[in-house]
Amino acid sequence: MAAAARQLPPPVAMLRDAALAAVVAALLAIPLLGVRLVDNASGLTLDSRLPLVLYAAAAVFAGRLLLSMGGRYVAPSLRGLTSSLPAMPRNSLIVFGWLLALAALLLPWMPFAERSLIDKLTLILIYVMLGWGLNIVVGLAGLLDLGYVAFYAIGAYAYALFSMHFGLSFWICLPLAGLMAALFGIALGFPVLRLRGDYLAIVTLGFGEIIRVVLLNWQAVTNGPNGITGIERPTLFGLSFSRSADGPTFADFFGIEYSPVQRVYFLYYLILALALLTTAFAQRIRRLPTGRAWEALREDEIACRSLGMNPVTVKLSAFAIGASFAGLAGSFFATRQGFISPESFSFIESATILAIVVLGGMGSQIGIVLAAVLLVGLPEWFRDLSEYRMLVFGGAMVVIMLWRPQGLLSRREPTILLDPKPARAEATVP
């Protein structure tokens, strides 16, 4: 096909190409889109929807033609525009980051901040925090973790169970949940971290499934698929956010009128603080020996081993720390929802978090925020699409990867360079 395209004049080659694409699309559409299985009393029958095949073929024909025409006539002029994105100087990114944090702090006081918006932002912030936590594992240490949601689940269940059985408050359980997740991270990481990247990916994927299966079936402890309800809500130094409580409530203490919005705001600030803690930690540890060891190991494992580093302990620390942040986020999730079930911790969550990290540009903190808004926020706003939502989500993952394989804001240069050359930023991606 490539050889033929070279001989034909461009417009003809494009038409030919588009026609071929349309034929393939029709072939793909015939069995699954063209007919629909219908359940009847007598068994399955078929419902023919052949026009859909024609529409699909026509859409693909037009799309392919536009794409190749765009690629030939429009893209060269646009190329300068997109490639200038990662070239943004580092300082301006830092300023942008501070502005973003400030905006997040002030946002609830803006006149347009409705309750639903704060709710959505809280959800996005959970994913931002998870993304920042996973970024320690994937972005800094270069370990591919496909089961990150397992640690999130452990954190959530740890909080729910501790508070239910021992009556511990949220603020005591929060570090405990992080610790539990880190312990599980060490228990899993110790045997498997000597494996190469892809094996690690599949083992962590398997671990994620194991945790989910155990949560589903260990009825006595986790209540199985029904989940745990009535999880205690968080308090502010003992001040509860409900209308009435045993102790003083938030509204009573400050002498203001009770409103359910207060808790929404409190949760928003809580997750914002947790997320900022995560990113501050990640930024600081990059400058410490541990963080440098992670980056060095990511860039060249053999060189590190020759220099006497123990790769297993270095990786283990990254794995455990990343896991503990997932645990913190998990216990926040549990306290926000008041209800958890294994359903919330399926593989699709792991995939979403990993997609946020990779899409954000692996190592770029602001890139992760943008990616989280894109992947979690937009589908939330487009809930009206209902059944098409996940289709669009998956499609967006593919399209964005094709558009920017290195992530939205690619920033993967080592923190420390002997001879800092800005041009190396792209070249160090393995």
């Binding site: 490539a2 393939v24 072939l27 793909l28 015939i30 069995p31 699954l32 889109l33 007919v35 629909r36 299985l37 068994g43 399955l44 029958t45 078929l46 994937v138 591919l144 045997p191 498997v192 000597r194 494996l195 190469r196 990247g197 892809d198 094996y199 990916a201 599949i202 083992v203 994927l205 398997g206 671990f207 499934e209 194991i210 299966v213 589903l216 079936n217 053999i302 060189a303 593989f347 699709i348 995939a351 997609a355 990779v358 899409l359 692996m362 059944e387 098409y388 996940m390 289709l391 989500f393 998956g394 499609g395 967006a396 993952m397 593919v398 990867m401 094709l402 394989p405 290195q406 393995p430």
Partner: protein, 306 residues
Amino acid sequence: MTIDIFLQQLVNGLTLGAFYGLIALGYTMVYGIIGMINFAHGDVYMIGAFVALIGFVVLSTVGVVSVPLAILVVLIMAMFFTACYGWAVERIAYRPLRGSPRLAPLISAIGMSIVLQNYVQIAQGARTKSIQPIVHGQYSFEVGPGAHVTISLLQIVIIVLTVVLMAGFTWVIRSTSLGRAQRATEQDATMAALLGVNVNRTISITFVIGASLAAVAGMMATLYYGVIDFYIGFIAGIKAFTAAVLGGIGSLPGAMLGGLIIGLIESFWPVFFDLAYRDVAVFGVLILVLIFRPTGLLGRPEIEKV
């Protein structure tokens, strides 16, 4: 465990192993040739199952009554259409990403998997589809006093079909020019291209072969279980990938062996332990194998060069 239960579970395990082996071949071939986990492969298998189901319904509507003929026609149909899907997935989501950071194609593959699942869910409905058994008949053997082992005709068909396909497939890889091109690309894609191998076409054909083998597994699942939905690809995919890793990823006999072992573990597990934790057992075995033999059972150890 008495001998009849042992033999019965052995037969069931072999049947399951045939499924996993066929799907695992697709994973291991793709991993061998371009070094990526084709995450959408499990969903390609699911599409194979749906195409087969639709094919059976079409044939029964048209009025085909001969069962062997129906199976043959549906087999060819499912392989063809599913191969188209395999080809399209590679062309759309993986080929443009060749040579980009290693994680990019993986994310794109996960995206593709989500797309395929939801596409089928929207096009065919989220409800589970079931079909009446088509292949009847079973044979019972007496293996001891009062102990019987039952093998259904369908199980024999599945095992024979799998063995034939795997033999044919091994022959293709070993003795045809296509197989040679494939092995050459696997070892060194740049060198193969310099020597006149059309690397892109070879990779496409790898996906087509992988998808058609998955389609066979899908058709067999439709016949064997009689119940499918849009989500069956995920768990079958992970298990088949586990099989590929267990056997040594990149190794074709390894994928078949791995599939067999996973099938046997799955069928023997409920005899001794709680059925609910069967999946845990499969992944537990994977972790154990990787700790003690990281290259898998038949994989060649990889020598890292600086």
